[in-house]
């Protein structure tokens, strides 16, 4: 009989998942140094005891025998998709010496020639920004490929809520509409676990859920009503609903609009604010029958009418909104969207009546407006040529009904916290709290100037970022006014090539960079273009400070604030290092310490006595420890967090529902873009662009057609993508368990099409098909018939089709790669938000 070894180590370690960006709190069961199980943390306010299939399967990646465990250098100078890099293992010393030598030379000549790319957005993912800033380059992007991420979500959210993101208040909402917002699966701040549970509870309590989407996604399958819509037409439907609400039903929240928005601001005949001699924006005061500054004490602002001010006619912004939407009749919207006019009218009425305008609720001892309607929208609605217009159009529904940051309404995530809150900017409009601002703000905007950065963000002053423009600039920096080229790219936790559109074009753009360093847990498609690959830690081997960042990875509304730690459950394999530690090491080698610590102290607002001192060297753990202690007090260092995992405190009602307590207003009329447009026209003409398109810089949203609407004929279908509950970006597609799961799910690794559409084309379920775009791109895949697809649409879920040489060894992921259908062209980019148009005309043929 074999003796059974006695278990020495048997622990459940609390930490934070990173198989997607939701930052679920998990308990990891470790036995004798081996991870055997992962479960949700029942004490977590974020996700409770629930986790998803991706989180469960994290241990497959941990024990993947194909992990990168040694630094490697490329021996084949030729680069490209499918080309063998000829990897050769090298020592850490050789790798770091090679990299440090190049970094030193770049910093001495022109630090802008370094590009730092990382999708490590949590914990010390901030290191990317801090390290790059200390180095001296503006070329840093700690995000995803950025084509149809939150490009047109964030600018609207910053302006309308003062936050990075926004969610429905499922605790109190009675009527929720989702436009292209994949609750239940979206792996980002839509919290597919905690928020989905709230949504399910709300449904049980009687909330009506209406999902507007070309695809009957997970949320739609749980909804009262799925409204199939033609892709890229959401703005038309939203504006038609606003028209019905304002002009047919005569419903709006006058108190909210007058006190909390710029609705009463007077607009002149040219569309600009009317100002007094001091430059103050004027409103029309009913009591005195005269124009007054918008913030005049005791003024009673009117929302409608025409008034004579400064010798000219002026009208309140709200009146212009009412008039503007009149052209969006439900019948017109039906033609654009395919949603019947009667449905649009009915939904508008249901939504407006459910808003209970005038009603209040008492919470936390405070009487607050109660607006139990929430219209949420996300990437599906805005991943289009005119994405920003879609966002503002849909948000208008919340705004006119007063359902913004009040109980039951549409909530920004963490606009106000224990130590932060928004301020009042120019013209009385809201400026988000600096503490939660993590990207460029649309208001007050950055002045457009000649570009200095490789993503030419200077030419997109209304966008939060402009990563989708990076490949174009890399290919031809001079064209964008840049006097340098990128000489080195450092890439961390980001399969940039696979998550980009048009991989062959983007690979060409990356080939313009002579030296690429990629950190990798597994060899991926981007790493295959690198000159040096460095082994990185798996999520269960990492220490990261505060992965549940308050600006994104925390539930909105009532509940608790919570601060957590991601801690190592097991040691990494010998020779594998957390990329953060490697960057500190490189910083030391190139003499960056003083600047790095200074930037850390300043950017993270580290207080004495925990400030990093440049006469000593800190490890990653020590830096996190100082950061924690500075934020939470000397007793709350790394050891405290490892032991206790979470610091939490209840939110005050002013933090959960801040709008009634805030003075700064939000815009219903985005006047400042009228000033940006001529500046951009002049600047881009000076740069040599003859036709820089500024036509989207309008103060009120419109529906404008995507380029794909122009192409017809045999390309009679629109291809779109959708998320899958068990995959996150390209990151999880190589997880063997999840790959097997995908194999058994008929809607995965396939193109979905409506059975009636298929029948008209003589196609059948399971057919092998070629999907070809009018621009010559194609993918081959299996056809899956599903009634839950708009008849004009092909849905290609997920981001399958890894072509990496190493990945093929163990995954065999044969699914279609949707992004390969998209052609990189500035014509497909929203010139305000930089969203990339993710709907494309295709024809489907049996192979």
């Amino acid at each position: 009989m074999t003796a059974v070894a006695k278990t020495q180590d048997d622990a459940w370690v609390p930490t934070v998942c990173y198989m997607c960006y939701n930052a679920c709190n998990i308990l990891v069961h470790r036995v004798d140094g081996v991870v055997v199980k992962i479960e949700g943390n029942p004490d977590s306010p974020h996700n409770g005891s629930r986790i998803c299939a991706k989180g469960n399967s994290a241990l497959m990646g941990l024990y993947n025998p194909y992990r990168v465990t040694k630094p490697m250098k490329r021996t084949n100078p030729e680069k490209g998709i499918g080309i063998d890099p000829g990897w050769q293992e090298i020592s850490w010393e050789e790798a770091l010496t090679t990299i440090a030598d190049r970094l030193r030379a770049i910093r001495e000549t022109d630090p802008r020639k370094l590009y730092f790319l990382s999708f490590d957005t949590q914990g010390f993912g901030t290191l990317g920004g801090v390290w790059a800033s200390a180095f001296g380059t503006p070329n840093v992007w700690p995000g995803s490929a950025g084509y149809f991420c939150g490009n047109a979500v964030h600018p609207v959210s910053w302006m309308m809520h003062g936050t990075f993101f926004q969610e429905p208040d499922f605790e109190h909402t009675r009527y929720c509409m989702l436009f292209g917002s994949q609750h239940g699966v979206a792996p980002f701040t839509k919290n597919p676990i905690g928020l989905s549970a709230r949504m399910a509870n709300a449904r049980k309590k009687g909330m009506k859920l209406v999902v507007v989407d070309p695809y009957c996604n997970t949320a739609a399958s749980k909804a009262n009503e799925w409204v199939p819509i033609r892709p890229g037409t959401d703005a038309a439907m939203a504006l038609a609903m606003v028209n019905v609400i304002l002009n047919d039903l005569g419903i709006w929240d006058a108190e909210f609009l007058a006190r909390h928005t710029n609705s009463p601001y007077l607009i002149d005949g040219d569309g600009y604010y009317v100002r007094d001699a001091e430059g103050q924006v004027l409103i029309w005061d009913l009591a005195s029958g005269a124009a007054k500054p918008f913030d005049a004490e005791g003024a009673d602002p009117v929302l409608e009418g025409t008034f004579q001010v400064n010798g000219a006619s002026a009208r309140p912004a709200f009146e212009l909104v009412k008039e503007h939407v009149k052209k969006y009749t439900p019948e017109m919207a039906e033609e654009i969207t395919t949603v019947p006019a009667a449905t649009i009218r009915r939904l508008a009425r249901e939504l407006a009546e459910a808003a209970c305008i005038g009603s209040t609720i008492t919470l936390g001892g405070k009487v607050l407006p109660y607006r139990p309607v929430s219209v949420d929208w996300s990437k599906g609605a805005i991943a289009h040529k005119h994405g920003m217009h879609h966002g503002f159009a849909i948000q208008l529904l919340n705004t006119v009904l007063g359902a913004v940051d009040v109980p039951g309404g549409h909530l920004g995530v963490s606009a106000v916290g224990p130590t932060w809150g928004p301020s009042e900017g120019p013209d009385g409009l809201l400026v988000p709290a600096p503490r939660i601002v993590i990207e460029l703000l649309p208001y007050p905007p950055t002045k457009p100037v000649r570009p200095k950065t490789m993503d030419a963000c200077e030419l997109f002053p209304f966008a939060s970022y402009s990563m989708s423009v990076l490949p174009a600039v890399l290919m031809d920096p001079e064209k964008y006014g840049l006097d340098y080229k990128i000489e080195m790219l450092i890439n961390c936790r980001n399969n940039y090539l696979m998550t980009s559109v048009d991989p062959p074009f983007v690979a060409e753009a990356l080939k313009q960079i002579p030296f690429i360093v990629s950190f990798a847990v597994n060899m991926d498609e981007t790493a295959e273009l690198a000159d040096i690959v460095l082994p990185d830690t798996h999520v269960l081997e990492r220490l990261d400070a505060l992965p549940n960042r308050v600006y994104g990875w925390i539930l909105p509304g009532e509940g608790d604030w919570y601060w957590t730690v991601r801690q190592p459950v097991v040691d990494p394999p010998p020779g594998v290092r957390h990329w953060t530690e490697v960057m500190y090491d490189l910083g030391e080698r190139i003499g960056l310490r003083e600047d790095l610590y200074f930037t850390f102290n300043t950017n993270l607002k580290i207080k004495d006595p925990f400030k990093l001192k440049s006469d000593q060297v800190y490890s990653h753990v020590e830096i996190v420890d100082n950061y924690f202690k500075s934020l939470f007090g000397a007793e709350h260092g790394v050891d405290w967090f490892k032991e206790n995992f979470m610091l939490r405190e209840p939110k005050k009602i002013e933090e959960a529902y801040p709008r009634p307590f805030l003075k700064p207003r939000v815009p219903i009329y985005v006047e400042h873009v009228k000033h940006l447009a001529p500046q951009l026209t002049k600047l881009t003409a000076e740069l040599g662009f003859e036709d820089w398109d500024v036509s989207d810089y309008t103060p009120l949203p419109d529906w404008l057609p995507c380029p794909s609407y122009e192409v017809q004929g045999e390309y009679d279908l629109l291809a779109i993508t959708a998320k899958q509950a068990f995959h996150s970006h390209s990151y999880t597609v190589d997880t063997v368990w999840l790959n097997e799961l995908a194999d058994q799910y008929p809607h995965s690794k396939a193109a979905l099409i409506n059975p009636a559409t298929a029948a008209a084309k003589g196609l059948r379920d399971g057919d092998e098909v070629l999907i070809r775009t009018h621009e010559g791109k194609e993918v081959r895949t299996r056809l899956s018939l599903f009634e839950g697809v708009h008849p004009e649409v092909v849905v290609i879920p997920g981001l399958h089709g890894h072509w990496g040489r190493d990945r093929k060894k163990y995954v065999g992921d044969k699914g279609p790669h949707f992004n390969s259908l998209l052609t990189y062209d500035m014509r497909n980019i929203d010139m305000t938000s930089t969203s990339f148009d993710a709907c494309v005309r295709v024809k489907v043929e049996k192979v």
Partner: protein
């Protein structure tokens, strides 16, 4: 005399790490006045990293007087500078910032 230090990306606009600024004869220069002098000297691209349209301090910019970060302080721009003061200006690019 006031010493101004530039960190990180700001050096790409000033082409220097440190410069010294003469106090006006009357001796009364506030922070706003100093930054205006620097904008005059280094141009609109420098200005665009430091201020938004409308004159707010840019959310990616940090200004320190001595050891104190004054970026978030209401009234900091009216702060009178004294001979010997050291002012540091830096920007940190995207998805950083935020201390919680």
């Amino acid at each position: 005399m006031i010493t101004v230090h530039y960190m990180g990306n700001m050096r790409n606009y000033t082409h220097t790490r440190t410069e010294r600024v003469e106090l006006p004869p009357a001796g009364d220069l506030d922070l706003k006045g100093l930054l205006a002098l620097l904008v005059d000297k280094h141009g609109e691209e420098f200005e665009s990293r430091l201020f938004t349209v409308g004159g707010n301090l840019h959310n990616q910019a940090t200004v320190m007087v001595g050891e104190a970060d004054v970026s978030d302080n209401a009234g900091a721009m009216e702060m009178k500078l004294r001979p010997g003061d050291e002012v540091t200006i830096l920007t940190v690019t995207t998805l950083s910032g935020g201390s919680c």
